[in-house]
Protein backbone atom coordinates (compact mmCIF):
# COMPACT_ATOMS: atom_id res chain seq x y z
CA UNK A 1 0.00 0.00 0.00
CA UNK A 2 1.30 3.48 -0.82
CA UNK A 3 2.49 5.93 1.78
CA UNK A 4 -0.23 8.42 0.75
CA UNK A 5 -2.98 6.04 1.78
CA UNK A 6 -1.40 5.49 5.17
CA UNK A 7 -0.93 9.25 5.62
CA UNK A 8 -4.60 9.79 4.84
CA UNK A 9 -5.78 7.09 7.26
CA UNK A 10 -3.38 8.28 9.93
CA UNK A 11 -4.39 11.92 9.57
CA UNK A 12 -8.07 11.13 9.93
CA UNK A 13 -7.39 8.84 12.88
CA UNK A 14 -5.30 11.51 14.61
CA UNK A 15 -7.97 14.14 14.09
CA UNK A 16 -10.65 11.80 15.45
CA UNK A 17 -8.46 10.84 18.41
CA UNK A 18 -7.75 14.44 19.31
CA UNK A 19 -11.42 15.32 19.02
CA UNK A 20 -12.38 12.38 21.21
CA UNK A 21 -9.81 13.33 23.86
CA UNK A 22 -10.94 16.95 23.92
CA UNK A 23 -14.57 15.93 24.29
CA UNK A 24 -13.95 13.47 27.10
CA UNK A 25 -11.94 16.15 28.92
CA UNK A 26 -14.74 18.65 28.49
CA UNK A 27 -17.33 16.14 29.61
CA UNK A 28 -15.35 15.45 32.82
CA UNK A 29 -14.63 19.08 33.65
CA UNK A 30 -18.12 20.41 33.05
CA UNK A 31 -20.55 18.69 35.38
CA UNK A 32 -24.03 17.60 34.31
CA UNK A 33 -27.13 19.72 34.75
CA UNK A 34 -28.24 21.04 38.13
CA UNK A 35 -31.86 19.98 38.28
CA UNK A 36 -32.92 23.54 37.68
CA UNK A 37 -35.30 22.45 34.96
CA UNK A 38 -37.25 20.23 37.35
CA UNK A 39 -37.61 23.23 39.66
CA UNK A 40 -38.94 25.39 36.83
CA UNK A 41 -41.47 22.77 35.75
CA UNK A 42 -42.53 22.24 39.37
CA UNK A 43 -43.27 25.97 39.66
CA UNK A 44 -45.86 25.67 36.91
CA UNK A 45 -47.80 22.86 38.62
CA UNK A 46 -50.67 23.72 41.00
CA UNK A 47 -49.11 22.03 44.09
CA UNK A 48 -52.26 20.25 45.21
CA UNK A 49 -50.11 17.11 45.80
CA UNK A 50 -53.19 15.06 44.97
CA UNK A 51 -51.42 12.23 43.07
CA UNK A 52 -54.14 12.17 40.40
CA UNK A 53 -51.37 12.20 37.78
CA UNK A 54 -50.11 8.88 39.07
CA UNK A 55 -47.05 10.33 40.81
CA UNK A 56 -46.86 10.83 44.59
CA UNK A 57 -46.80 14.61 44.46
CA UNK A 58 -46.06 17.49 42.11
CA UNK A 59 -42.28 17.36 42.24
CA UNK A 60 -42.07 13.67 41.21
CA UNK A 61 -44.40 14.46 38.31
CA UNK A 62 -42.15 17.36 37.32
CA UNK A 63 -39.15 15.04 37.41
CA UNK A 64 -40.99 12.53 35.23
CA UNK A 65 -41.91 15.23 32.71
CA UNK A 66 -38.31 16.40 32.44
CA UNK A 67 -37.06 12.82 32.09
CA UNK A 68 -39.57 12.30 29.30
CA UNK A 69 -41.45 9.55 31.19
CA UNK A 70 -44.71 11.44 31.64
CA UNK A 71 -46.96 13.36 29.30
CA UNK A 72 -47.80 16.95 30.17
CA UNK A 73 -51.56 16.50 30.20
CA UNK A 74 -52.00 14.35 33.31
CA UNK A 75 -52.78 17.07 35.86
CA UNK A 76 -56.57 17.64 36.34
CA UNK A 77 -56.29 20.42 38.98
CA UNK A 78 -53.93 22.29 36.70
CA UNK A 79 -56.36 22.16 33.84
CA UNK A 80 -55.83 23.47 30.31
CA UNK A 81 -53.91 26.52 31.56
CA UNK A 82 -51.16 24.42 33.11
CA UNK A 83 -50.86 22.20 30.04
CA UNK A 84 -50.52 25.27 27.86
CA UNK A 85 -47.87 26.78 30.10
CA UNK A 86 -45.92 23.52 30.27
CA UNK A 87 -46.07 23.23 26.48
CA UNK A 88 -44.84 26.79 26.08
CA UNK A 89 -42.01 26.26 28.56
CA UNK A 90 -40.82 23.00 27.03
CA UNK A 91 -41.40 24.00 23.42
CA UNK A 92 -43.75 21.10 22.72
CA UNK A 93 -47.31 21.00 21.50
CA UNK A 94 -50.26 21.48 23.77
CA UNK A 95 -52.40 18.39 24.44
CA UNK A 96 -55.99 18.03 25.64
CA UNK A 97 -56.45 17.08 29.28
CA UNK A 98 -56.27 13.30 29.78
CA UNK A 99 -59.06 13.20 32.38
CA UNK A 100 -61.10 16.28 33.24
CA UNK A 101 -61.67 16.94 36.96
CA UNK A 102 -65.05 16.28 38.54
CA UNK A 103 -65.55 19.73 40.12
CA UNK A 104 -64.05 23.02 39.07
CA UNK A 105 -62.62 24.17 42.38
CA UNK A 106 -63.76 22.30 45.42
CA UNK A 107 -62.84 22.08 49.07
CA UNK A 108 -63.43 19.21 51.48
CA UNK A 109 -65.78 19.57 54.41
CA UNK A 110 -66.14 17.36 57.47
CA UNK A 111 -69.62 16.53 58.71
CA UNK A 112 -69.13 17.26 62.38
CA UNK A 113 -72.10 15.23 63.56
CA UNK A 114 -70.46 12.04 62.22
CA UNK A 115 -66.74 12.65 62.90
CA UNK A 116 -65.25 10.34 65.54
CA UNK A 117 -61.88 12.05 65.96
CA UNK A 118 -59.69 9.21 64.68
CA UNK A 119 -57.00 11.50 63.05
CA UNK A 120 -56.68 9.31 59.94
CA UNK A 121 -57.65 12.16 57.62
CA UNK A 122 -55.26 14.54 59.34
CA UNK A 123 -52.33 12.26 58.50
CA UNK A 124 -53.48 11.96 54.89
CA UNK A 125 -53.64 15.68 54.10
CA UNK A 126 -50.51 16.67 52.14
CA UNK A 127 -50.71 20.34 53.11
CA UNK A 128 -51.77 19.92 56.77
CA UNK A 129 -55.12 21.61 56.20
CA UNK A 130 -56.94 19.45 58.76
CA UNK A 131 -56.84 20.46 62.40
CA UNK A 132 -57.84 18.14 65.19
CA UNK A 133 -56.60 15.92 67.97
CA UNK A 134 -57.31 12.35 68.99
CA UNK A 135 -60.94 11.91 70.14
CA UNK A 136 -61.58 15.60 69.53
CA UNK A 137 -63.42 17.32 66.69
CA UNK A 138 -61.60 17.65 63.37
CA UNK A 139 -62.09 20.50 60.96
CA UNK A 140 -60.70 21.51 57.57
CA UNK A 141 -59.15 24.93 57.08
CA UNK A 142 -60.97 26.00 53.94
CA UNK A 143 -58.35 28.55 52.91
CA UNK A 144 -55.59 25.92 52.86
CA UNK A 145 -57.54 23.04 51.29
CA UNK A 146 -56.39 22.33 47.72
CA UNK A 147 -59.22 19.96 46.83
CA UNK A 148 -56.96 16.93 46.33
CA UNK A 149 -59.50 14.49 47.89
CA UNK A 150 -56.83 12.35 49.62
CA UNK A 151 -58.66 12.67 52.95
CA UNK A 152 -61.89 11.09 51.77
CA UNK A 153 -60.66 7.49 51.53
CA UNK A 154 -59.05 7.11 55.00
CA UNK A 155 -62.14 8.27 56.90
CA UNK A 156 -63.70 5.19 58.54
CA UNK A 157 -67.13 6.80 58.91
CA UNK A 158 -67.24 8.51 55.49
CA UNK A 159 -67.88 11.95 56.94
CA UNK A 160 -65.87 13.97 54.42
CA UNK A 161 -67.40 15.31 51.24
CA UNK A 162 -66.36 17.78 48.54
CA UNK A 163 -68.13 21.08 48.13
CA UNK A 164 -67.55 23.24 45.08
CA UNK A 165 -66.71 26.88 45.62
CA UNK A 166 -68.66 29.60 43.78
Amino acid sequence: MSVDMWTAVLTISVIALLAGLALSLASKMLPADSGELVEQVNELLPQTQCAQCGYPGCRPYAQAIVAGDAAINLCPPGGEDTIRRLAAKLGTDSLPLAEPPALARAVAIIDETVCIGCTHCRAACPVDAIVGAHQLMHTIIEAECTGCELCIAPCPVDCISMRSLP
Partner: protein, 193 residues
Protein backbone atom coordinates in the same frame (compact mmCIF):
# COMPACT_ATOMS: atom_id res chain seq x y z
CA UNK B 1 -10.75 46.81 6.50
CA UNK B 2 -13.26 47.62 3.75
CA UNK B 3 -12.89 44.08 2.54
CA UNK B 4 -13.92 42.73 5.94
CA UNK B 5 -16.93 45.02 6.10
CA UNK B 6 -17.90 43.93 2.62
CA UNK B 7 -17.64 40.30 3.72
CA UNK B 8 -19.85 41.04 6.73
CA UNK B 9 -22.52 42.91 4.78
CA UNK B 10 -22.36 40.26 2.11
CA UNK B 11 -22.92 37.32 4.45
CA UNK B 12 -25.48 39.01 6.73
CA UNK B 13 -27.70 40.72 4.17
CA UNK B 14 -26.86 40.26 0.52
CA UNK B 15 -26.15 36.55 0.47
CA UNK B 16 -27.90 35.65 3.66
CA UNK B 17 -27.34 31.97 4.29
CA UNK B 18 -30.94 31.17 5.10
CA UNK B 19 -33.02 33.40 2.88
CA UNK B 20 -30.81 33.70 -0.19
CA UNK B 21 -28.59 30.64 -0.25
CA UNK B 22 -31.28 28.47 1.41
CA UNK B 23 -28.82 26.69 3.66
CA UNK B 24 -29.66 25.88 7.29
CA UNK B 25 -33.43 25.69 6.78
CA UNK B 26 -34.00 22.91 9.29
CA UNK B 27 -33.44 24.93 12.49
CA UNK B 28 -34.96 27.98 10.78
CA UNK B 29 -38.32 26.26 10.48
CA UNK B 30 -38.01 23.98 13.48
CA UNK B 31 -36.82 26.24 16.29
CA UNK B 32 -38.54 29.49 15.44
CA UNK B 33 -41.74 28.85 17.41
CA UNK B 34 -40.77 31.14 20.24
CA UNK B 35 -38.22 33.85 20.70
CA UNK B 36 -36.21 32.39 23.59
CA UNK B 37 -35.64 29.12 21.73
CA UNK B 38 -34.67 31.00 18.57
CA UNK B 39 -32.22 33.18 20.44
CA UNK B 40 -30.69 30.17 22.16
CA UNK B 41 -30.38 28.33 18.88
CA UNK B 42 -28.75 31.32 17.20
CA UNK B 43 -26.16 31.53 19.95
CA UNK B 44 -25.40 27.83 19.78
CA UNK B 45 -25.08 27.89 15.99
CA UNK B 46 -22.98 31.04 16.09
CA UNK B 47 -20.62 29.43 18.54
CA UNK B 48 -20.31 26.29 16.42
CA UNK B 49 -19.90 28.28 13.19
CA UNK B 50 -17.16 30.53 14.44
CA UNK B 51 -15.28 27.73 16.20
CA UNK B 52 -15.54 25.25 13.37
CA UNK B 53 -14.77 27.68 10.56
CA UNK B 54 -11.60 28.76 12.35
CA UNK B 55 -10.57 25.19 13.16
CA UNK B 56 -11.43 23.96 9.67
CA UNK B 57 -9.34 26.68 8.11
CA UNK B 58 -6.35 25.90 10.32
CA UNK B 59 -6.74 22.18 9.70
CA UNK B 60 -6.95 22.70 5.96
CA UNK B 61 -4.06 25.15 5.76
CA UNK B 62 -1.60 23.44 8.10
CA UNK B 63 -2.43 19.74 7.84
CA UNK B 64 -4.33 18.86 4.70
CA UNK B 65 -2.54 21.10 2.22
CA UNK B 66 1.06 20.27 3.26
CA UNK B 67 0.24 16.56 3.33
CA UNK B 68 -1.54 16.87 -0.03
CA UNK B 69 -4.68 15.38 1.46
CA UNK B 70 -7.22 17.90 0.12
CA UNK B 71 -9.48 15.04 -0.90
CA UNK B 72 -10.04 14.38 2.82
CA UNK B 73 -11.53 17.86 3.18
CA UNK B 74 -15.19 16.93 3.53
CA UNK B 75 -14.72 14.11 6.01
CA UNK B 76 -12.24 15.98 8.21
CA UNK B 77 -14.42 19.11 8.26
CA UNK B 78 -17.36 16.99 9.31
CA UNK B 79 -15.27 15.51 12.13
CA UNK B 80 -14.32 18.95 13.34
CA UNK B 81 -17.87 20.21 13.12
CA UNK B 82 -19.27 17.15 14.89
CA UNK B 83 -16.77 17.62 17.70
CA UNK B 84 -17.68 21.32 18.03
CA UNK B 85 -21.35 20.46 18.14
CA UNK B 86 -20.84 17.83 20.80
CA UNK B 87 -18.86 20.32 22.86
CA UNK B 88 -21.64 22.89 22.44
CA UNK B 89 -24.21 20.36 23.56
CA UNK B 90 -22.23 19.68 26.74
CA UNK B 91 -22.02 23.42 27.40
CA UNK B 92 -25.74 24.00 26.81
CA UNK B 93 -26.70 21.10 29.04
CA UNK B 94 -24.55 22.55 31.81
CA UNK B 95 -25.51 26.20 31.41
CA UNK B 96 -29.22 25.99 30.66
CA UNK B 97 -31.06 22.71 31.04
CA UNK B 98 -34.24 24.46 29.97
CA UNK B 99 -32.71 25.47 26.66
CA UNK B 100 -31.47 21.93 26.26
CA UNK B 101 -35.00 20.64 26.78
CA UNK B 102 -36.53 23.17 24.45
CA UNK B 103 -34.07 22.77 21.60
CA UNK B 104 -34.02 19.01 22.02
CA UNK B 105 -32.89 17.20 18.91
CA UNK B 106 -31.96 20.41 17.09
CA UNK B 107 -28.67 20.84 18.95
CA UNK B 108 -27.03 17.69 17.61
CA UNK B 109 -28.59 18.48 14.25
CA UNK B 110 -26.35 21.54 14.01
CA UNK B 111 -23.73 19.02 12.93
CA UNK B 112 -25.69 18.32 9.78
CA UNK B 113 -26.66 21.95 9.31
CA UNK B 114 -25.63 22.58 5.75
CA UNK B 115 -24.84 26.18 6.59
CA UNK B 116 -22.05 25.12 8.94
CA UNK B 117 -20.39 22.74 6.49
CA UNK B 118 -21.15 25.27 3.75
CA UNK B 119 -19.18 27.99 5.52
CA UNK B 120 -16.18 25.73 5.97
CA UNK B 121 -16.16 24.60 2.34
CA UNK B 122 -16.88 28.07 0.92
CA UNK B 123 -13.91 29.44 2.83
CA UNK B 124 -11.70 26.97 1.01
CA UNK B 125 -13.40 27.58 -2.33
CA UNK B 126 -12.96 31.35 -2.05
CA UNK B 127 -9.37 30.94 -0.79
CA UNK B 128 -10.00 33.19 2.20
CA UNK B 129 -7.19 33.98 4.64
CA UNK B 130 -7.57 33.27 8.38
CA UNK B 131 -9.10 36.63 9.32
CA UNK B 132 -11.43 36.57 6.35
CA UNK B 133 -12.50 33.04 7.26
CA UNK B 134 -13.35 34.06 10.78
CA UNK B 135 -15.28 37.10 9.58
CA UNK B 136 -17.05 35.00 7.02
CA UNK B 137 -18.07 32.50 9.70
CA UNK B 138 -19.10 35.24 12.08
CA UNK B 139 -21.07 37.02 9.36
CA UNK B 140 -22.83 33.80 8.45
CA UNK B 141 -23.73 33.30 12.11
CA UNK B 142 -24.96 36.89 12.44
CA UNK B 143 -27.10 36.57 9.34
CA UNK B 144 -28.50 33.29 10.57
CA UNK B 145 -29.29 34.78 13.98
CA UNK B 146 -30.90 37.86 12.45
CA UNK B 147 -33.23 35.89 10.27
CA UNK B 148 -34.03 33.31 12.92
CA UNK B 149 -34.96 35.95 15.49
CA UNK B 150 -37.03 37.92 12.99
CA UNK B 151 -38.89 34.82 11.96
CA UNK B 152 -39.49 33.81 15.57
CA UNK B 153 -41.04 37.17 16.45
CA UNK B 154 -43.28 36.99 13.40
CA UNK B 155 -44.33 33.46 14.28
CA UNK B 156 -45.16 34.48 17.84
CA UNK B 157 -47.57 37.07 16.51
CA UNK B 158 -48.96 34.65 13.93
CA UNK B 159 -49.70 32.29 16.81
CA UNK B 160 -52.43 34.59 18.12
CA UNK B 161 -53.59 36.15 14.87
CA UNK B 162 -56.83 35.41 13.15
CA UNK B 163 -55.59 33.12 10.36
CA UNK B 164 -58.00 31.18 8.15
CA UNK B 165 -58.10 27.51 9.11
CA UNK B 166 -56.39 26.00 6.01
CA UNK B 167 -53.35 28.22 6.52
CA UNK B 168 -52.70 27.77 10.21
CA UNK B 169 -49.43 26.35 11.43
CA UNK B 170 -46.79 25.33 8.90
CA UNK B 171 -48.51 26.75 5.82
CA UNK B 172 -48.51 30.35 6.99
CA UNK B 173 -44.97 29.93 8.35
CA UNK B 174 -43.66 28.82 4.97
CA UNK B 175 -45.52 31.64 3.25
CA UNK B 176 -43.96 34.10 5.65
CA UNK B 177 -40.52 32.67 5.00
CA UNK B 178 -41.11 33.12 1.29
CA UNK B 179 -42.11 36.75 1.74
CA UNK B 180 -39.06 37.39 3.92
CA UNK B 181 -36.88 35.88 1.19
CA UNK B 182 -38.51 38.23 -1.32
CA UNK B 183 -37.67 41.15 0.91
CA UNK B 184 -34.05 40.12 1.20
CA UNK B 185 -33.77 39.99 -2.57
CA UNK B 186 -33.82 43.75 -2.36
CA UNK B 187 -30.27 43.62 -1.10
CA UNK B 188 -28.91 41.85 -4.15
CA UNK B 189 -26.24 43.65 -6.08
CA UNK B 190 -25.00 45.56 -3.05
CA UNK B 191 -21.91 43.44 -2.53
CA UNK B 192 -20.14 40.75 -4.41
CA UNK B 193 -20.55 37.28 -2.88
Amino acid sequence: MTELIVILVGTVLVNNFVLVRFLGLCPFMGVSRNLEAAAGMSLATAFVLTLSSATAYLLHRYVLVPLELEYLRTISFILVIAASVQFTEIMVRRLSPLLNQVLGIYIPLIATNCAVLGVALLNVQQSNGFVQSVFFGFGAAAGFALVLVMFATIRERLEVADIPAPFRGTAIALMTAGIMSLAFMGFSGMARP
